[in-house]
Symmetry: C2
Subunit: 348 residues, 2 copies
Amino acid sequence: MSQQKPLIIDCHGHYTTAPKALENWRNAQIAGIKDPASMPKVSDLKISDDELRESIETNQLKLMKERGSDLTIFSPRASFMAHHIGDFNISSTWAAICNELCYRVSQLFPDHFIPAAMLPQSPGVDPATCIPELEKCVKEYGNVGINLNPDPSGGHWTSPPLSDKAWYPIYEKMVEHNIPAMVHVSTSCNACFHTTGAHYLNADTTAFMQCLTSDLFKDFPTLKFIIPHGGGAVPYHWGRFRGLAQELKKPLLKDHLLNNIFFDTCVYHQPGIDLLTKVIPVDNILFASEMIGAVRGIDPETGNYYDDTKRYIEASTIVVGDDRYKVYEGNARRVFPRLDAALKAKSL
Amino acid sequence: MSQQKPLIIDCHGHYTTAPKALENWRNAQIAGIKDPASMPKVSDLKISDDELRESIETNQLKLMKERGSDLTIFSPRASFMAHHIGDFNISSTWAAICNELCYRVSQLFPDHFIPAAMLPQSPGVDPATCIPELEKCVKEYGNVGINLNPDPSGGHWTSPPLSDKAWYPIYEKMVEHNIPAMVHVSTSCNACFHTTGAHYLNADTTAFMQCLTSDLFKDFPTLKFIIPHGGGAVPYHWGRFRGLAQELKKPLLKDHLLNNIFFDTCVYHQPGIDLLTKVIPVDNILFASEMIGAVRGIDPETGNYYDDTKRYIEASTIVVGDDRYKVYEGNARRVFPRLDAALKAKSL
């Protein structure tokens, strides 16, 4: 398989371009928290297949074709998850709507999109309440992964660390269904943290360190996390993290964490990708762009889109030969076994 | 000057090795918050010059000589600042004690240590209350900089962003006295954040982004911040930050921030230092090790101390010739004008 041109699998795409009706419905729902009489029904949201098709064909799919990626693992818009808004019921209704839309996109474009689910998390609410939505998404919608928010408070960090047993019901279901989680926060409602410039990266670093200080993966040896945005600050400070693990009498990071933790390639310049691929073993790196996302412009230093991360991999002198197959395809098949099964069912 | 061997100035050292009596006094002070009858007096703390000498000679100075650095900008132990404990009076007494100790070290070893001050910050208290301690440290103790904690709550991030006018009284004094601030948090009391593995790096990234989204340096064109720990996640994600500035219609980062923001070299492996020095202009990089600090071990991959950052600069093929003078000495003299003046007063 590695001799052929690899499938280019982008493991990190959000539905950031959904028809405006979705945002309008969400705003009505938020207004309905204070004024229950105005709370919209789920059935008030009407988005046709044609509208979905257009929103994808003119955006993500257009760029995928231009840039040469084949398949995107597609989840609801991260910044719109906003788990801090309202209570569990609000999050539950909202997650169900967003997950259904990603499912419909995957049905309209089965060769190009496969869904990953957001969870109906809510601050202070037992994560186990998310299991029905998780199971529906896996069993009925063919989701191959989930996005897990380590801070549903939106920048106040009031939940316990990911190593806390409060999260274990989610992990048990992940293991049971053979799905990984991308650890991904949502909008910051703390004025200290810019959402995509600080909160996202901080959460990545924080999640890694929560795993490092714990023995979570002794309890769940097959649990898999993808740390997005190139792992936050982690690869850049790999020496620091190796040294901290040593101080804490933990095993070498490759044994302690790298059977379970993977990094995506959402790093928007060549030197960053080169650092990532030099420092982190190739088996732990999954291709991703997070387009159309936080950084949509063209880099004046290169003339190319910042988030056209495939160019950085193509220009890499570190990720070559069979390693390129791993980053583009092989690792995604291994980390997302349900994706692998779905591809094999199509003889891919 | 650049033709001679440069002075090796380490701009980031904390007094992590103070005699045990200091920690005992602090513990008594913390106990005294609940039990005022047991509150110790400042005069209860007795540390002799010999004790100070020994704590430095067997630790920082020993390593400075072994590793070949000449002068450390020396401030109280960052994790012990713990501004979240008690109220302003508690912080005020504690800061005065810690700053006096660093001053005494600088008097005992005037060729090797020059002090930078911690501030008596306290959550929810007007930063202007810190000015008397700041001015005492500059005028009486010869401090050349301060450490400014953007989150005195210790991981709850309840203060406004650094761009908020609440911080301006501090900035006015910094400009008046020509001193920079290292933006440095203290211990995390939020279970989500490991202090040195997550909170420190997150704060670095957060502070940079707070500056990026604001026009702080239009109001204070000569204000200078050092972002420690290699700038947190910033250099690794430099493309992301350039792209975010572009989306926000800000000037290029070199014009928007790099007249005012500097990064230290506390990055504990060669690939990280190489990334930093490749991406960030050499004029914005100051040599530092933060020894003896968070990562005290020996890297089994190199056989050298993780925090012996001079080795990474010496091995660099990017920082060569006159650039090495800038990183070791020239930039520190420019960013810390009072340090430059103190050196010149000694004909250095």
